[in-house]
């Protein structure tokens, strides 16, 4: 105890060094995350922004992005919610294998996803000839955009939904059954309401991911204005000729993404 008083300044110095050692990389990381967005916001003048929004690429791309992502996310929710419920409930080897399987797209690079989608559904692909026989040609069509978005976005919803369903207390489900409720009623009146924050968060994540989808869409669906050119592809195209249009589109995307982030956080807090 008597020596601790003498050591205290030394420890203070060491604490300061330790704090600095931690703080400097942290500040660099925050800068790396925030500065690009600041650049996007600060270099835009309102008049330039208004002009950019009137660029002929913007309208069709915005419409197409909203249309395809709404369809993709709606499908992901409708098909993914029951799937997530089964994945959360099946404690078998098959269930675990399936869970890993549907998570794979998360780690697949977008370019690889594009090639994979082409090899599966392209005209020369695994299922292409069969699809062509029934009159369906997916590549370079709007449905191809939706398919690419589902491929990259669904795992984000599924992960959130499976986690949320796993957190639902088993006793609540058993009690609900004991009160005369069948599986369907228990699912809709107990499991889904209790998992709702996780489902909303997962859906918002999936939507953000679908909205940003670029690489797989470019390779599998192409870059055709009004048919497959979503907002990220429009930025890419506009950048070649008109920086202000690219910036305007980028700001639209960022505003939507930011709104979704707020929705995720609101969902998580409930």
């Amino acid at each position: 105890m008597t020596t601790s008083r003498g050591r205290r300044p030394q420890r203070g110095v060491r604490d300061a060094a330790w704090t600095t050692a931690l703080a400097v990389p942290a500040v660099v990381l925050v800068a790396a995350l925030v500065l690009p967005l600041a650049g996007l916001l600060l270099t835009a003048s309102p008049s330039e922004l208004a002009g950019g929004l009137r660029h002929p690429l913007v309208g069709p791309a915005l419409r197409l992005s909203l249309l395809t992502t709404v369809i993709a996310v709606a499908f992901i929710i409708v098909a993914g919610t029951p799937l997530a419920w089964f994945l959360a409930r099946w404690r078998t080897r098959a269930g675990r294998v399936l869970e890993v399987l549907v998570q794979i797209p998360v780690v697949v690079p977008p370019a690889v996803a594009g090639v994979a989608l082409l090899l599966a559904f392209g005209r020369q692909g695994l299922f292409g000839p069969a699809l062509a026989r029934v009159g369906v040609g997916l590549p370079f069509s709007t449905p191809a955009v939706v398919l690419a978005e589902i491929f990259v976005a669904a795992p984000f919803f599924l992960q959130g939904a499976v986690d949320a369903f796993r957190r639902v207390n088993e006793d609540l489900l058993v009690v609900a059954h004991s009160l005369g409720a069948g599986r369907t009623r228990v699912f809709f009146t107990v499991a889904v309401p209790l998992a709702l924050p996780g489902l909303v968060g997962g859906a918002a994540m999936a939507w953000a991911r679908a909205l940003g989808e670029f690489g797989a869409t470019l390779m599998f669906a192409g870059n055709l204005t009004g048919r497959t050119q979503t907002l990220p592809l429009a930025i890419y195209t506009a950048l070649e000729s008109d920086l202000s249009a690219a910036r305007a589109i980028a700001l639209i995307l960022m505003a939507v993404a930011f709104a979704l982030l707020l929705a995720i956080r609101a969902g998580a807090r409930r």
Partner: protein, 257 residues
């Protein structure tokens, strides 16, 4: 078996066996008559809750049968396994498991889906009134005390008019201060309802106050059953001996309250 002898009505006859994981093999038989509640008592990990879940239908026994009055709920040999929702058993799990997204009356109404919407609320209110908790109707589960939550969970289980009651550690979540009062009102309710009742507890004082027969389970097997007095007079194992030794402190104090 000495545990029967109810005041008429249904009796719940249970004989269940099977592995429940963790190296625990259940093999338990008992009979709960109306108005003669059975308490399953035993150390932690003895399989008490597993037995209750087998009766309920949440866990499937490998062998045995569960018969309620003239209805066979489960019979392995005859291939009968009624789903939980058709067994008409009132179940109050440990920690009560109230639906957190519904208010108290919403919880009580959950089991009344078969009634018309207008009757549902009236029936729920009547059951809550009987248990003295009609004032809690609009409260959320997180706003209820332990004792209140227990009453709401009991009201929820009773609202459908179950043919038997299963209570898992009905008093364990309560602190000592309210435990005695809640225990007494639960004992009065059980006597009034006169339903075949099985309750699981690790506390011999709860068992003695609420049940007329105590079934002591150790490592999945029944080691002794009888009235508290019978158990105290001739404990079959060291655990029962120790259990009844602690009970002698609390049993007389129960009698003069």
């Amino acid at each position: 078996m000495s545990g029967g002898g109810g005041a008429g009505g249904d009796a719940l006859a249970v004989a269940v066996a099977g592995d429940v994981g963790g190296g625990l093999a259940i093999d338990v038989a008992f009979r709960a008559g109306g108005g003669a509640p059975v308490a399953i008592v035993g150390p932690n990990g003895a399989g008490k809750t597993s037995v209750l879940r087998m009766v309920l239908g949440a866990l499937r026994p490998a062998r045995g049968s569960v018969v309620l009055g003239d209805t066979t709920l489960f019979d392995r040999a005859r291939g009968i396994d009624l789903p939980i929702e058709l067994r008409a058993l009132g179940y109050v799990p440990q920690h009560y498991a109230l639906f957190p997204h519904l208010d108290a009356i919403g919880n009580v109404m959950y089991g009344l889906a078969a009634l018309a919407a207008s009757e549902r609320r009236a029936r729920a209110r009547a059951v809550m009134q009987e248990l003295g908790i009609d004032g809690l109707a609009a409260r959320r589960p997180r706003e209820l005390s332990g004792g209140e939550a227990q009453r709401v969970a009991l009201a929820r289980a009773l609202a459908r008019g179950p043919r038997a009651l299963l209570l898992d550690e009905p008093l364990a979540a309560l602190d000592v201060g309210v435990r005695r009062a809640v225990r007494q009102s639960l004992a009065r309710d059980l006597a009034r309802l006169a339903l075949p009742t099985v309750l699981v507890t690790h506390d011999i004082a709860d068992a003695a106050a609420l049940a007329s027969t105590i079934v002591v389970v150790e490592a999945g097997k029944v080691v002794q059953h009888g009235t508290p007095a019978e158990l105290a007079a001739a404990p079959a194992t060291a655990f029962v001996d120790e259990l009844m030794a602690t009970a002698t402190v609390s049993l007389p104090s129960r009698n003069h309250t």
